[in-house]
Structure formats: structure tokens, C-alpha cells
């Protein structure tokens, strides 16, 4: 730890994880829309400037994708595989920079901050499903997988990392249920079927991991899917399809439901 005079003089000051400036950790002037104490604490460690610039989505207007304004896409959407999803923040320039710093530059110290922000979306999904105890609502949390080459380059899957944090905070099992279909396989698929728009056929569920889902005696079978950005919704929708197909096929659950919690809505 670097020596800092102000830290020594005023021990309640700490370095803001996002901008590095000294921040007064005790200040509560900017509210944080997250209940979980661990996540709250992470967000309260940010300086006032950073905390007040988080563009929280206070009230979703679109009941499907969680967009905070009128959404022309969702009402028209056919083939809804995902039940619904909620997003924590709007994807503005500052959020774009923050995500880029974490995801592309690899500044992993931002990881807890992003996970704590995502907790807002997670809690909203839970409360809309009528409960606070996530462990009773969901059988498992999983994440949108990364292509293998991408994972190798980056060294981590941001969605998985955030999902693991949530799993630890809320006591829901994290399981890597999904895999990305390898590029070569996808190419050959593309040539066989004439036209595949969006993400169709990009994901498969892992049978072995599926076997580890704790599902004894549940009335409704629900899985929560985590990702960083919601853009068109086709990624989460295709993940939901792969999950539902595989779960039904394997006879684990006849009518599984897949929900989404995403960090930002673009």
C-alpha cells in the first residue's frame, strides 16, 4: 500500500476504487439502491463524485427488458425464451469507460464495484418475483460464457466473475451451465443452414454441470442468467433457449424459467 499523508491524518478517508481520489467512506449523502450489506459497503467506498454519477435505473418502464423508457423492441419481440430481465444502470459514457477499463484493459480491481452495482438488478428481479430470499427463488445463477480464445486473451469472463460474487452474497449456487460453440463448428453450421441471424446456435448447455443443480422438491424451476450489457437481447435470449432446451431434454425440469440480471442497458 502506498503511503498517503491524508490517510494517515484522517483514517476515515480511503482511496476511491474507481478514480483513485481520496473519499470519505462514512458519507451517506448519495443513496445506494442496494440492500445487501457487502455490496452496499463496496459502493459506499466510492467518492461522492463517482457515486453520484452512477446512472441507476430507478424504475423500469419496459416490463420485459427493464429499459427505463418506452421500449419499441420488446412488445414486437416474437420467441421470448427469457422470462424477463432487469438492468442496474444506463450504459452512458462513464459506464462505458468503466466497463472498458475492467473488461478490455483488465483492471480487475473494479470487479467488486461492478458486481455490487449489478446487485441492484439482481435484487429487483427477486422482489418482482415476490421475495427477498434469493436462495428460495433461484436454483442456480449462471453467466453468459465467453468464447475460448477471448477467455484466453482476457484471462477472465466478466459475466462469470460478477455471477460468482452474487452467488456468494445471496447464497445461490453458481454453475457454469453454458458453453459457447466453437467458431469452427459455428461456421459449418452456418453453411448448412442457409441463414442464421443473431446469436442462434451460439450456445450449448453443459450436461455434466446440469446434473449438479439442486432441484429436489422445488415447485418452480428458475435459473438466473448474468451478463454485462443488454443491447438487442439476442444473447440472453439464445442462452435462455439453450438452457431450457437442455433442461427439458434431460428431464430435469419440464418448464424451467430463465430470468436475467444485467449490469447495464444500452
Amino acid at each position: 500500500m502506498r503511503f498517503s499523508l491524508s490517510r494517515w491524518l484522517r483514517p476515515e478517508m480511503s482511496e476511491c476504487t474507481v478514480c483513485g481520489r481520496m473519499a470519505d467512506a462514512r458519507s451517506n449523502a448519495v443513496p445506494v439502491p442496494v440492500r445487501h450489506p457487502a455490496a452496499r459497503e463496496i459502493l459506499q467506498q466510492l467518492c461522492m463524485g463517482c457515486r453520484s454519477s452512477i446512472p441507476w435505473i430507478g424504475a423500469p418502464v419496459c416490463r420485459y427488458c427493464g429499459r427505463p423508457e418506452f421500449c419499441p423492441d420488446c412488445p414486437r419481440r416474437q420467441d421470448k425464451q427469457m422470462a424477463f430481465c432487469r438492468c442496474a444502470v444506463r450504459y452512458d459514457d462513464r459506464m462505458r469507460d468503466m466497463l472498458a477499463l475492467y473488461k478490455y484493459r483488465g483492471s480487475e480491481r473494479l470487479e467488486p464495484v461492478l458486481a455490487a452495482m449489478l446487485a441492484a438488478a439482481f435484487e429487483r428481479v427477486c422482489s418482482e418475483l415476490g421475495g427477498r430470499d434469493a436462495a428460495h427463488i433461484f436454483q442456480a445463477v449462471t453467466a453468459v460464457p465467453l468464447a475460448e480464445e477471448r477467455l484466453d486473451d482476457r484471462g477472465f469472463n466478466q459475466a462469470e466473475r460478477m455471477a460468482v460474487s452474487l452467488s456468494q452474497w445471496y447464497g445461490v449456487a453458481y454453475l457454469p451451465l453454458l458453453q459457447r460453440v466453437r467458431h469452427t463448428e459455428k461456421q459449418s453450421l452456418k453453411t448448412r443452414r442457409s441463414r442464421i441471424v443473431d446469436m442462434k446456435g451460439n450456445f450449448v448447455a453443459d450436461r455434466d454441470v446440469m446434473g449438479r443443480i439442486p432441484f429436489a422438491g422445488v415447485s418452480r424451476f428458475r435459473i438466473l442468467l448474468i451478463d454485462d450489457i443488454y443491447t438487442t437481447g439476442s444473447t440472453v435470449n439464445e442462452c435462455a433457449r439453450a438452457l431450457k432446451d437442455a433442461l427439458a431434454e434431460a428431464g430435469v425440469a419440464s418448464e424451467p424459467e430463465v430470468y436475467g440480471a444485467l449490469w447495464a442497458r444500452s
Partner: protein, 649 residues
């Protein structure tokens, strides 16, 4: 990433390697035709390597780069000491186990350590041609990598923007590494001040301390996370993250030093000839001649300190030009750049500030039109290749290793260079070992001043501005703290009087305050008194680092549309206004150190038309810092007077 560890045995030696493209190594050691092709493509040096290894033993599985590097250095140490077990495989397994244990992951040792013997491959025409083609490319790559230190992604980007390589770049690089023309390291490595021999003893259960191989940062700037590319807890460097991520399992690719270019003896000119040729003042030409003479001096014995301890301050090849604000620093370095460039060498100017880079680049392009210029800063078009003359922010120097014969560090005491060991490390390593570093500053950090005074740091002082009039000496103005009178919305009468007087004499006023939050209220307060100053309200403005229109306001200030500019230390350097007076308010605040005060005072009296600008330190107390700043200014004036640099007295 993961790499393959293997070992080569000859009659009297064993050597361990790790490879990023083992298919190349296998052919290199076990395919005679391929090797002959390599010699044909590369040249005779390639033949000097042991032609016929007795045996090559390789692991079957790849290992995380950090573990592989540690295992290989253990094996090197073991085999150098002449301790051979009957089986190379046993030695390798033991070394790998020790490497895992030292990394604190003993439970991983034992796995992934099955070995195999590489067989001879059959000799074929195709093998020869492959070897030749790969060697030709490896040679070209090695040339392009001279003087550079790049991460793998940067190498890919560099090659992507120019001539492509037909072969797999990893194969080409692996061959260049086998031939010793490129070095590959894990970007984060054990701090390694201890010889490996000591590290062979393990068992403390604590992972070895690591260091970033690119920026020199130690454990306090490293962070360990679980890494999907190598499958272990793997450290990355947060200090140099903005320049690409260095981690334990990432390759740092270092080329050979740039070729030697001894200086041409005719280039060393005496001061009077320099003055004529480069239109320098007597003080400028004396300093330039001293720096030039220093450059021509035979390099002293290389310092024995390890390379990460090299810093500009403990470097026998560093020369400080201590030039007062407004002395015309840039002109003084022209003769130095000329000497290096004329000899075919490479020179770089590094500065902490991007605006300085942008301002210098066109001036240099004009002064040295016959050379190739490179301009580097975050987001610049050029990124990797150094021309003959490079102007760069100090951050960018991190991509060079032993590249420059001369490196000039401008404004070395400015943020962020000052107090950032990473940037000192980058600057020191970008220079060739026998090259020269020239440090430029009006306010060198106190340790450098001390070394200069004690004769430990070669230096020249330029105590006078180009107009040869003494520097304005700060006057003391005793007024209460800003917050006190700002609340009452009343400017203290002494301050009011001096501001009014400055405005009356037609000067532009810099009002420096310690905090950004004081700017706006002070501007309002001054505007209320605008009539009293005989000014329009909108000729009083404020700006700060957070002001998007800072550039516009500085221009307006220069054009006299703004007469009073309230600001912070953000404008302490670089902005030159013809007829200006300086007021430093709350000059007793610790936020202003002596060099800040000297720099702010240096905004006054810059032009020949108005060399006697006024400088006021307005504060309730006259602190040691203010005294020190005033003393530095007076000392420079006295030095100038003694040496006859002042024009009239």
C-alpha cells in the same frame, strides 16, 4: 499463456528452455535439414549452436509461463553447478515441483509432469526450405524489435500495421529467441535480486516477491487474480495497466539494443560556434556546450546497480540543465540532438505533459527536416516505431528498451513524472547503456539540486532569461486567508490596491489559488469590484483542470480579452503571456511547494517588452516554503550577475 518446457543434452552440457512454439524447437534440434535451412537463411552464427544434441527431453503438457520460467532458471542453476542426475527428466520434474512450491501452489506439482523423448525427424527437402524461410523472417523480426520492449498484443498490433509475416508469428519469434536475437520474459517475474540458488531452498510457504518486468513496480502495485489463460492465481501490474496489461503468464518481448552509433568528433563545437549556429544567448550556449562536452566524454564504467535501480538521479550518464523559467530550454537542446542525429543515432525527448509534446513536435520537425520524426502520446497515430527523433510523453518510453543514444527529459519535476518510479524506470531503460540522459528543469527536485551542488550530478545552470533581465523577485503581501474575506465578500485593501495598480499599468493578471472550489466565488467577488479596477465584468474569468473550455480561456487571456484569470497550479507551467503580473493567494498553503511557487512566479516578466513583471505572494504568514522560493529566484539572479549574463545594471 502456457508454454512447453524441454531440455537439451549434449556431451558436456544440459540446458532447459521453454517454448511458445515447440514444433519449431523440435525441428531445430532434431531435424538436420531444417537446421541447415536455418543456417542458410540466418547466416553462420546459427551454425555455432550445438549441432547434434544427445537427447532432447520435453514435457508432454504445457505449463503456466511463470512456473516454466522459474523451473528453467532452477535447472540452469543446477546444471551450471555441475550437479547432474542420471536422468534429465528427474531433474526437470524436481525443478517444476520446486517452482510450484515456491509459487505457493505445491498441490499442483506432480500433475502435468510426464516427459517424452523427442525423436529425430527424417531429412527432407521441405524441411530445409521451411527452416530457411522461417530464419529469413526471424531475422527481419529481430531487426524490427531492436530497442523495443513489447507485450504480445503490442507486437501483433505493430506487425499488423506494416509488413505482415507469412509464418505464424509465434514460430518466427521462437526461432529468433533460439538464435538469441529476441528475448522473451514473463511480463511479471520474481524480483530476482537473490540468485536462484537461494530460491532452490523453499518451504517458507510464502510466494516469492514479484516485480513488473516492464515498469519495475513491486508487489505493492501487483494484484493476483485467477487467470483463465494459465489456470492459476496470476499477478498483474496495476501501475502500467493503461499501457496494456503485464501479467505473470504474459510475454514481454525484448529486442536487442539498437545498433551503436558513436558520435562524430567534429560535432563537438565550442560555445561561441554553437551560439552562432543555433542563435543562442551567451548563457544558453555555455550550458549547451557543457552538455555537449559531457556527451562526448567516454562513458564511465557501467554502474553495477541492477537495472531496475537505474534512475535518472543515480546515473553517471545524466546531465542536468537547470534553466530558469523563460530561459529558452528547447533551443539549448538543439545542438545535442544535432550531434546524435548527425552520427546516425536516435534521440528522444520525453515530457510528462502531452500538450508539451504537441507543441514541441512541429518546432523539431522544422529544425531537423531531414530526419524521420515520431510523435508518441496516448492515442497518437504512431505507436511503436521510433524514428530518428522521437517526442513522447514519458509513459510511452515504456515500450522502448536500450533504444536511444540521447534522451532528454523535459519538465522532470512536473506531474506525473515526478515521484513516479515507473516513469523514471521507463526513461532509464529506454536509453542505451552508454547513451546520455539530459534532464531539463527550472525547478529540479531537491535531491537533484543537492546532488548538483555536491558535484555528484553533472550540470549547467542557465540563470537568466533570453532577454537577459533578472527574474522578478516575489514581494510579500500580508493579507488574511481567502476564505475569511471571501465570505465577507470584501477584498483586503492591500490586495485590492495592488490588483488595481497592475490593471492600471496594463498588465494581465494571473491569480493563483490553492483549490478549485475557490475559483468561482473569487471570480464573482472580483467581478463585483470590476468598476473599482476599471474593468468590464467579463474580462475577469476563472479556469481549472475541470474546465472544458480551459484552452479557449487561455487564448482569450493571451488576446487580452480576459485581463484577470483566476486559476490553480494547472497553469503554473507552459503558458506564456507577454505582459503579466502574478498574484499567488494563500501562498502559505502547503499545497504550493517551493517549485510550484517558483513556476508561478515564472509567469511574470516573460517578454523583452515587459521584463519587470510583478510577483506577489499574498498570505497571512511568510512560510519557510515561500522564503525558499524567493531565495532560489534571488540566487539565480545573483549567479547571473556574477557571470555577467545580465544586460544592464
Amino acid at each position: 499463456m502456457k508454454v512447453l518446457v524441454y531440455a537439451v543434452e549434449t556431451k558436456d552440457s544440459r540446458r532447459a528452455w521453454w517454448s511458445v512454439a515447440p514444433e519449431v524447437d523440435k525441428r531445430y534440434w532434431k531435424n538436420v535439414a531444417f537446421r541447415e535451412g536455418v543456417v542458410a537463411g540466418w547466416g553462420e552464427q546459427a551454425a555455432a549452436k550445438p549441432a547434434r544434441p544427445e537427447g532432447v527431453v520435453a514435457l508432454k503438457e504445457r505449463l503456466p509461463l511463470g512456473i516454466a520460467e522459474s523451473a528453467c532458471s532452477r535447472l540452469a542453476e543446477l546444471w551450471k553447478s555441475g550437479s547432474y542426475s542420471s536422468s534429465m527428466g528427474d531433474d526437470m520434474r524436481a525443478a517444476i515441483r520446486a517452482a510450484w512450491e515456491e509459487a505457493g501452489e505445491a498441490e499442483r506439482s506432480g500433475a502435468e509432469s510426464e516427459v517424452e523423448l523427442w525423436d529425430h525427424e527424417s531429412v527432407s527437402e521441405a524441411g530445409f526450405e521451411q527452416g530457411r524461410a522461417l530464419a529469413v523472417q526471424a531475422r527481419e523480426l529481430a531487426e524490427r524489435l531492436r530497442g523495443k520492449s513489447l507485450l504480445q498484443a503490442e507486437l501483433t498490433a505493430m506487425l499488423g500495421d506494416g509488413r505482415g509475416f507469412a509464418g505464424e508469428i509465434m514460430q518466427v519469434m521462437q526461432l529468433a529467441a533460439l538464435l538469441g536475437a529476441v528475448q522473451m520474459y514473463p511480463a511479471v517475474t520474481p524480483a530476482g535480486s537473490k540468485p536462484v540458488r537461494f530460491r532452490l531452498r523453499h518451504g517458507e510457504g510464502k510466494p516469492a516477491a514479484l516485480r513488473c518486468g516492464r515498469c519495475g513496480s513491486g508487489e505493492e502495485r501487483l494484484r493476483r487474480t485467477h487467470c483463465a489463460s494459465c489456470g492459476r492465481w496470476c499477478a498483474y501490474c496495476e501501475a502500467c495497466l493503461t499501457m496494456g496489461r503485464c501479467r505473470e503468464c504474459a510475454l514481454l518481448i525484448v529486442g536487442l539494443p539498437a545498433p551503436d552509433r558513436p558520435l562524430n568528433r567534429e560535432g563537438e563545437l565550442p560555445a561561441d560556434r554553437l551560439a552562432d549556429r543555433w542563435k543562442l544567448s551567451p548563457a544558453q550556449s555555455t550550458a549547451a556546450a557543457a552538455a555537449l562536452a559531457f556527451m562526448y566524454r567516454e562513458p564511465r564504467k557501467r554502474s553495477l546497480s541492477p537495472f531496475w535501480k537505474l534512475s535518472s538521479s543515480s546515473d553517471s550518464r545524466a546531465f542536468l540543465i537547470w534553466a530558469v523559467t523563460g530561459a529558452g530550454k528547447t533551443e539549448m537542446i538543439f545542438p545535442l540532438l544535432d550531434a546524435v542525429l548527425a552520427a546516425g543515432g536516435k534521440a528522444a525527448i520525453g515530457t510528462p505533459r502531452r500538450d508539451v509534446v504537441l507543441e514541441l513536435a512541429p518546432r523539431l520537425a522544422k529544425a531537423f527536416p531531414q530526419f524521420r520524426h515520431t510523435v508518441l502520446y496516448g492515442g497518437s497515430e504512431d505507436r511503436f516505431d521510433a524514428g530518428d527523433l522521437t517526442v513522447a510523453t514519458t509513459h510511452q518510453l515504456i515500450r522502448f528498451r536500450q533504444a536511444f543514444d540521447l534522451i532528454v527529459i523535459d519538465e522532470l519535476d512536473a506531474f506525473p513524472y515526478h515521484n513516479d518510479p515507473m516513469l523514471h524506470f521507463a526513461a532509464a531503460n529506454s536509453r542505451k547503456r552508454d547513451g546520455t540522459t539530459v534532464l531539463l528543469s527550472a525547478t529540479p527536485p531537491s535531491e537533484l539540486q543537492k546532488q548538483a551542488r555536491r558535484g555528484k550530478l553533472a550540470h549547467a545552470r542557465v540563470p537568466v532569461r533570453f532577454h537577459r533581465r533578472p527574474l522578478p523577485v516575489p514581494k510579500r503581501l500580508t493579507v488574511p486567508p481567502i476564505m475569511r474575506w471571501l465570505q465577507r465578500r470584501r477584498i483586503p485593501s492591500r490586495l485590492f490596491k495592488e490588483i488595481k495598480e497592475s490593471v492600471r499599468r496594463g498588465a494581465q493578471l494571473f491569480l493563483f489559488v490553492p483549490y478549485i472550489r475557490e475559483i468561482e466565488p473569487l471570480v464573482q467577488c472580483l467581478r463585483r469590484c470590476a468598476v473599482g479596477f476599471d474593468l468590464e465584468r467579463d474580462t475577469i474569468e476563472g479556469t481549472s483542470s475541470q474546465d472544458p473550455d480551459r484552452g479557449g480561456k487561455v487564448t482569450a487571456f493571451r488576446d487580452r480579452r480576459i485581463r484577470i484569470l483566476v486559476t490553480t497550479t494547472i497553469l503554473e507551467r507552459g503558458v506564456t503571456i507577454a505582459k503579466s503580473d502574478v498574484f499567488v493567494l494563500d501562498a502559505d498553503k502547503p499545497l504550493f511547494d517551493a517549485s510550484s511557487l517558483v513556476q508561478m512566479a515564472g509567469r511574470a516578466g516573460r517578454s523583452a517588452d515587459d521584463p519587470e513583471g510583478l510577483v506577489f505572494f499574498a498570505a497571512s504568514a511568510w512560510t519557510a516554503t515561500q522564503k525558499q522560493a524567493a531565495r532560489q529566484i534571488k540566487e539565480m539572479n545573483a549567479y547571473a550577475r556574477r557571470n555577467g549574463y545580465l544586460s544592464s545594471e
